[in-house]
Every structure is written in C-alpha cells, then in structure tokens.
C-alpha cells in the first residue's frame, strides 16, 4: 500500500501538461517513476477507476484523471460503484461509500 505515491502520480499528472504528454506516449514509463504496488500500477495503467477509488485515491484527484481519460461524469460515478462491488469497501484515505450500488443521488 503506497497511497501517497499513487496519489502523487495522479496529482502531478493532473497539473503538468508535459507529464500528460509522456503518459500518453508511454504510461508505463511514467508509472515506473513512482513506488507503486503491482495492484496500484495496474489500476493506473488500465485505467481501473473503480479500483483507484477503492485503493483510496481522493476524488478531487481522481475525477480529473477520469476526465483526462475522457470518461464522462455519469460513467465516472458508475465505475466507482462498480469498483466497490468488484473489489470491496474502500481500503484507505478519507472516503467510505455511503450510498447503495444502485443509488444515483444526483440522478446520474
């Protein structure tokens, strides 16, 4: 578990256009610069938004990574629900999912 390193990668990616260009060219090489577990690395490279949420990535970081990956808002929310269904409850960080798998409290 290296949530700090995982969030650091996504934080830097969110704010650095040069790193974004590197990530588009060779995401694996970018991931290699951070001390990630195999699971974290897989979650970034796939990308598995639901697993990133379960691993504890703050949504204020994750939603921008999802937007960068061209994932629309409703799909972003659904991927997190599916992530909890598939991988179990959130393991670290500030979150706990408080609505049901099929709740859509904002209508999406």
């Amino acid at each position: 578990m290296s949530l700090y390193q995982l969030q650091k990668l996504l934080y830097q990616l969110n704010r650095d256009p040069a790193l974004q260009a590197d990530f588009i060219t060779d995401a694996t090489a970018v991931a290699d610069r951070y001390e990630l577990t195999d699971e974290e690395r897989r979650a970034v490279l796939e990308p598995d938004i639901g697993l990133l949420y379960v691993l504890g990535v703050n949504g204020q970081i994750l939603m921008h990574f999802a937007a960068f990956m061209r994932i629309e808002w409703a799909d972003y929310l659904q991927r997190m629900r599916d992530g909890v269904r598939q991988h179990g409850p959130i393991r670290a960080g500030v979150y706990a999912m408080t609505t049901g798998y099929d709740d859509k409290v904002a209508g999406v």
């Binding site: 969030q7 949420y53 703050n58 204020q60 970081i61 500030v94 408080t98 859509k104 409290v105």
Partner: protein
C-alpha cells in the same frame, strides 16, 4: 475600515461544468443570487477581492500541506482543470504582490500562514470569480485553508484566520471584499456525489448567521464527517468569512442542487 464586504458562496465544478444537466428552476435562481452578490461587491466599491478557498490538490499536496496559505503574486492563472470540462476559459487574473505581503505580515501576527508566489486557480476559486468578477476588474488575493483531509486545522483556528484577515484588511488603504467559498454538507466526486444533508446545512447556516463563534465552531471533525461528509470540512472557509465580518449573517439563497453536488448558498455578513 477597509473591509467593505464579506460573504459566502458555494463553488463546485458542476455549477458551471454541468450547467446543462441542472434543472433550470433550481439553477437559474442560484445564478441570479450569485449575480446579486457581484452587484453588492460592486456597490461596496471594492477594488480587491480576497477569496478564502479550500483548494483541491491543485497547488498544495500531501508532501508539504499548509494549513493556511495566501497568494503573493502579481498575477494568477486558471483554471488549472480542463477548461472544456469546467466550461470556464483559461485566463489570467490580476494580483498584487505588494498588497499580499502587507496582508500576510499582519496575518502572521496571530496566524502562521504559508505564502505562495505561484498559484494556479482551480474550480474552487474560478467558479466564484466566473460569477463575481467576470471581466477581471478586481485585484484578486487567494487564500486557502486545507479542508481536504486530516490532519485539519481546528475550526476555532479558521475563525482566528478570519479575524486576522480582517485586521490585515483594515490596515491597508484599498477597499477590500472577502468571500469564503466552500461546501456545507457534500460528498463530492464520489458515488455519493449529489447527497446533501439539508437539515444539517440549515442548522450550520443558522449558527453561521448568528455570528456566534462558539456556536459555529462547536463541531468535531468526526461529527462533520458523519453528517456533512468529507466536503463538510470546508465549513472552515465559511467560518473564516463570518469571523472577518464580525456581525450577523444573512442568507440570500440556499437550495440543495444535487447535480452540482452541494447545497448551493449565497450569504453575506454585517461588517462590525
């Protein structure tokens, strides 16, 4: 005096970015209330706008997270997010490094604050500016309180930060408006996004409007998290704005708007 206006407003990215997904009967009155705040700031003759925000890992990260920060640059750029996602175009806002230094020096008499000579505004500042200063007419001074996750500065310190900003504003010749921008209850950018605890929001706003420090700071973070979600931590910015004003507050608008992921508020406080 030179603090001429103090108010509070909400700031979620959905307020602009998901405008077309919002019911117009909820959205349009909120936009009108925001424009009302813009008019009030203009009517007060403000030259400078201090935005007390709760930024979201745009400039500050867990490698070196300041509890409090104030910008000290002659200009700021934003939004840091994709402009198409936020639906606010990239732009440059005017700052005033010399004024910032004077404000920071006075704030530091009572609150240790980090300063930042570079600051890219995220939606937490850009959404309020989009409504309050659409033509970039005001000098903007960003201030930040870490509200994203523990360890968090206590609420009574957020109040003290607001008092310090007031003292600092009153020591400079410029006419200064201040807005605190944060959520009340919300669970943003998670599957819970859209959940809003209206009863808790209204109770907090009543305490906020009372102007009573003890009442508005009488929440533990555990209580805030349970009732108001992780977004509830941002009440710090609203408390700071009340502290800067010192008087009773008035709520111009409050309405839960789930697609904006927050209860949407516009309020102002009497400056005493």
């Amino acid at each position: 005096m030179t603090l001429v206006f103090s108010g509070i407003c909400s700031h979620g990215p959905g307020i602009t970015g998901r405008a077309d997904m919002a019911p117009p009967e909820l959205r349009d009155p909120y936009y009108a209330a925001y424009r009302g705040m813009r008019d009030a700031i203009r009517a007060a003759g403000a030259e400078v706008l201090i935005v007390v925000a709760a930024e979201h890992f745009a400039n500050f990260f867990m490698d070196n997270m300041p509890a409090y920060a104030i910008g000290a640059a002659d200009h700021y750029d934003g939004p840091i997010e994709d402009p198409e996602w936020l639906r606010i175009p990239r732009q440059r806002m005017r700052g005033d490094a010399e004024l910032s230094r004077r404000l920071i020096a006075e704030v530091q008499q009572t609150v240790d604050v980090a300063y930042a000579e570079e600051w890219k505004f995220d939606h937490g500042i850009m959404v309020p500016l989009h409504f309050l200063d659409p033509d970039n007419e005001l000098t903007v001074i960003p201030a930040n309180i870490n509200c994203q996750g523990p360890p968090l500065t206590p609420l009574h310190r957020a109040y003290a930060f607001g008092r310090a900003l007031r003292r600092a504003a009153d020591k400079v010749p410029q006419r200064i408006a201040l807005v605190g921008t944060g959520g009340i209850s919300h669970w943003p950018c998670t599957p819970d996004s859209g959940r809003i605890n209206e009863a808790w929001d209204r109770e907090f706003l009543a305490r906020w409007a009372s102007g009573d420090e003890a009442r508005m700071t009488a929440y533990t973070d555990a209580e805030t998290y349970a009732d108001g979600g992780q977004g509830g931590y941002e009440i710090r910015t609203l408390i700071a704005a009340a502290a800067a004003a010192g008087g009773k507050g008035h709520i111009d608008f409050y309405q839960p708007i789930p697609i904006f992921s927050t209860g949407c508020v516009i309020g102002r406080s009497e400056i005493v």
